[in-house]
């Protein structure tokens, strides 16, 4: 079946189109070249004057896996409040900060998103995470594997293993868990927490294995490079939320020595210690460093005000926050010695100085980092805010008057502590399209997503160009997933399954003998059972492999 999307204003930064009026043709779920005047489309949508973009891609959103489910259990009252969400095809599930799988997929699709990636899949939780991701309707997913505190890697490094052995181990783990990328969460820190340490500096040897975080970080970044994984090492840095942590963030940028590195939720890692409150914005310094180094990319992890829940593998940081829990309940646990899990409900208050400054720091980062190909729109859902706040965030970026008006409502001391008021930049629609579509696809290595050129998957979102950008991005007119219309006027009209994106880097399998012995001795399951079979992902239907090119990145 041939479908024609006629006359829309196309924002497709990957193919150099910025508000270019033109037609798109879709056949069998893919965008195809103009078939010429002789072709008769079976279906035509007149999009004159509308804004057409690829489906948006969220590169960092906690939507599946162990801690997400624990957060759902902990926040049971959220689910009780809306037992039956609506009469739509997905008339079930509920909650905002901890949405059920169905609600996750439907809300993303309603905002024009067609993919979201779970950024913290613990090895031992991978099977569960995949089952949950398969249960999320409408959107594509994939997981980033958390390494860096797992006992096997630390032992490997302590034994003096070379770069090659580490890469083999990482490659084996990526294949076994069907992951898309590697994430490191406070490398070494979570392990140190288990020996009762409450902080660990970048160059401080951790307990037991006596490895420094710097060593773990560089080893993983090198392994990613060696295996040719498209996405750079996805780093949740050091001392999350601690004033003065900007030093450690700048240290991390230096530590990788020119290798590619993605700093995630960098807002939480951009704090200084100036001012009488010993808490200040270091956004300008971080932004300057990022602007200078093309090997670095970031996502922001913007906070938005209201009730949410923070869920992280970083038990060291989360234990420090447990006293701030609102409502007063939290969960802190180890998971199979792979990493940790800390779930702390939290309410960001606009009248609280610290929260207001966090909000401003996030926006400063957005506005000071110049290249929209290297900064991504995230709230670290649900840690900074639920992903449903993206439309409001886009409005804050695109509309300076709105930004200033909002700022005036916050804590009265805020203006003296932020340069936000003096920043005049307003994001353009083209930059938003880059940041939420083209750039995420490129940095994840998804060659056929995030753009509207021939051959791309027909994940397309159509908006009406409204001056109120929040209203515009909250309610797209049309959303197509693989060429199928799934949302009309912000309402889901059809359900369907997404796909799971993975990489399968080549590695030397002789490492498996060593790993197998360690698994037998220490882990809850054997290596053979730990490995997830292809048929286990969406019943063998919907696995998408992306190419790894060793040394290319």
């Amino acid at each position: 079946m041939l479908m024609k999307l006629a006359g829309g204003r196309i924002y497709d930064p990957a193919n150099g189109r910025d508000s270019a009026v033109g037609d798109l043709f879709v056949q069998d779920g893919r965008i195809v070249a103009d078939p010429g005047p002789g072709a008769a489309p079976d279906e035509v949508h007149d999009l004159t004057g509308r804004v057409v973009m690829a489906g948006a891609i969220d590169i960092h959103s906690h939507i599946a896996g162990g801690k997400v489910n624990i957060a759902r259990l902990l926040m049971a009252e959220e689910h009780r409040a809306a037992a039956l969400a609506s009469e739509e095809p997905c008339g079930c599930g509920g909650a905002i900060a901890t949405p059920s799988t169905h609600v996750t997929g439907c809300r993303y699709a309603q905002m024009g998103y067609t993919a979201a990636f779970e950024p913290a899949m613990l090895p031992s939780n991978a099977r569960h995470a995949h089952l949950e991701m398969a249960d999320i309707p409408l959107i594509d997913t994939g997981g980033y594997l958390v390494l860096g505190n797992d006992d096997l890697l630390l032992e490997l490094l302590a034994s003096g293993a070379g770069e090659e052995a580490v890469a083999d181990y990482v490659g084996c783990m990526l294949n076994a868990t069907r992951s898309l990328a590697i994430k490191a969460v406070n490398p070494g820190g979570i392990n140190a927490f288990k020996y009762n340490q409450r902080r660990l500096n970048v160059d401080e040897a951790g307990p037991f294995h006596a490895i420094t975080p710097r060593r773990i970080l560089t080893a993983l970044a090198a392994a990613v490079h060696r295996l040719g994984i498209p996405h750079p090492l996805h780093l949740h840095g050091f001392n999350l939320g601690v004033p003065g942590n900007a030093e450690a963030t700048l240290d991390s940028i230096e530590a990788v020595e020119g290798l590619r590195l993605h700093l995630t939720h960098v807002q939480f890692h951009a704090y200084g210690v100036e001012g009488d409150r010993k808490f200040s914005s270091a956004a300008a310094r971080i932004a300057e460093a990022v602007n200078r180094r093309p090997n670095i990319s970031v996502d922001v992890g913007q906070i938005m005000f209201g009730q949410t829940v923070t869920a992280s593998a970083d038990t060291m940081a989360q234990m420090g926050n447990a006293g701030l829990a609102h409502p007063k309940k939290w969960v802190m646990m180890d998971i199979e010695c792979d990493a940790g899990c800390g779930v702390v409900p939290f309410r960001y208050r606009d009248k609280a100085f610290v929260n207001a400054l966090q909000w401003a720091i996030g926006l400063e980062l957005f506005l000071l980092i110049e290249d929209p190909w290297r900064i991504f729109l995230t709230t670290d859902h649900p840690n900074g805010a639920p992903f449903t706040s993206y439309p409001e965030l886009i409005r804050l970026l695109m509309d300076r008057d709105h930004r200033l008006a909002r700022m005036a409502e916050l804590h009265p001391d805020l203006p003296q502590h932020t340069i936000l008021g003096s920043l005049t930049r307003e994001y353009t629609l083209g930059e938003i399209a880059t940041m939420t579509r083209a750039a995420p696809a490129r940095i994840l290595g998804l060659a056929d997503r995030g753009h509207l050129g021939p051959g791309a998957a027909a994940d397309i979102t159509v908006y009406t160009d409204r001056p109120d950008r929040r209203a515009m991005f909250e309610k797209p007119d049309l959303v197509f997933k693989d060429g199928r219309l799934i949302v009309r006027n912000g309402v889901v009209i059809a359900l369907g399954a997404g796909r799971t994106h993975v990489v399968e880097p080549a590695y030397d399998p002789t490492i498996e003998a060593w790993m197998g012995r360690r698994f037998d001795k220490r882990m809850g399951q054997r290596l053979a059972h730990f490995r997830i079979a292809e048929e286990e992902i969406r019943g063998g239907n919907g696995l998408v492999r992306h190419a790894c090119t060793p040394g290319a990145f």
């Binding site: 902990l74 926040m75 049971a76 009252e77 959220e78 689910h79 009780r80 037992a83 039956l84 009469e87 008339g91 409502p327 007063k328 309940k329």
Partner: protein, 274 residues
């Protein structure tokens, strides 16, 4: 103006969620407002008058439910004023989050009856299930006011994380009665299950039979005369909340204090037979 009698049209089927079916609604909008309420039953949403037959009857302004074999969940949930009379059994969540008014159940109640109740009265002529006066799932506080009287037995974890108010069970209570209790009063007429008052901080549990063993974390303060028991007996007897197994005279009681493992200074009073 009389009240309204609601009788399910079709008893068989999934439970009907009665949340929102309250005397307020009748007072504000009359029968039409009541009939137009949308209720959840299983996977579907239905108008109230599609699920129930409505007839005039009962006390003025009151709702009378005749569930028969149908399961009704959330009866009187969040009620602020007025009266609901259930001529039969309730499902789960009867009177949960109640703030005022009276809910009378002539049969049994399921789990989470009076959970997170803040005021009003719940009377159950039959038995009550688990989590009577406890927090709802995800909640951090149990009952914070009001009075509950159960003529039969109650299940496990009654009065868990309770903060204020009164729970009287004329019959037996299950395990973990008054667990993590913060304050308030629980009276149990017959035997209590294991783990009585576990991690209790403050509050009072009245019993007429000593537990088989001293509950973990409690210390025995011995028997004494407590004059306030006389006042309490009068007050509760008037409200039908003095358990039938309790002595009708005398102020002597043995006092256990705990749970000391959480620095608790709650008390379990075991009333002496006169």
């Amino acid at each position: 103006m009389s009240g309204v009698i609601l009788t399910p049209v079709e008893a068989a089927g999934p439970p009907i969620d009665m949340t929102g079916v309250l005397p307020d609604r009748l007072a504000d909008g009359g029968r039409a407002a009541l009939a137009g309420l949308m209720l959840v039953r299983g996977k579907g949403r239905h108008r109230l008058d599609a699920l129930f037959d409505l007839q005039d009857g009962g006390p003025a302004g009151a709702l009378v439910l005749r569930p028969g074999a149908a399961a009704l969940d959330g009866v009187g949930a969040g009620m602020a004023a007025g009266e609901i009379l259930v001529e039969g059994d309730c499902g789960a969540y009867a009177g949960s989050g109640m703030r005022g008014g009276t809910l009378i159940v002539e049969g049994d109640c399921g789990a989470f009856a009076a959970a997170e109740m803040a005021g009003g009265r719940l009377r159950v002529a039959g038995d009550a299930g688990d989590f009577l006066g406890a927090p709802l799932a995800g909640g951090t506080r149990g009952m914070s006011g009001g009075a509950v009287v159960v003529a039969g037995n109650a299940g496990d974890r009654i009065g868990e994380r309770m903060r204020r108010g009164l729970i009287t069970v004329h019959g037996r209570a299950g395990s973990l009665c008054g667990a993590r209790m913060i304050a308030g009063t629980i009276a149990v007429g017959a035997a209590c299950g294991p783990e009585l008052g576990l991690a209790m901080r403050r509050g009072t549990i009245l019993l007429s039979q000593a537990p088989e063993a001293l509950p973990t974390g409690f210390v025995d303060g011995g028997a004494n005369d407590w004059l306030f028991l006389e006042l309490m007996r009068r007050e509760l007897t008037d409200g039908g909340a003095w358990p039938v197994g309790f002595p009708t005279v005398g102020t002597r009681a043995r006092r256990l204090v705990g749970d000391r493992s959480v620095q608790g200074i709650g008390e379990v009073l075991i009333l002496s037979k006169a």
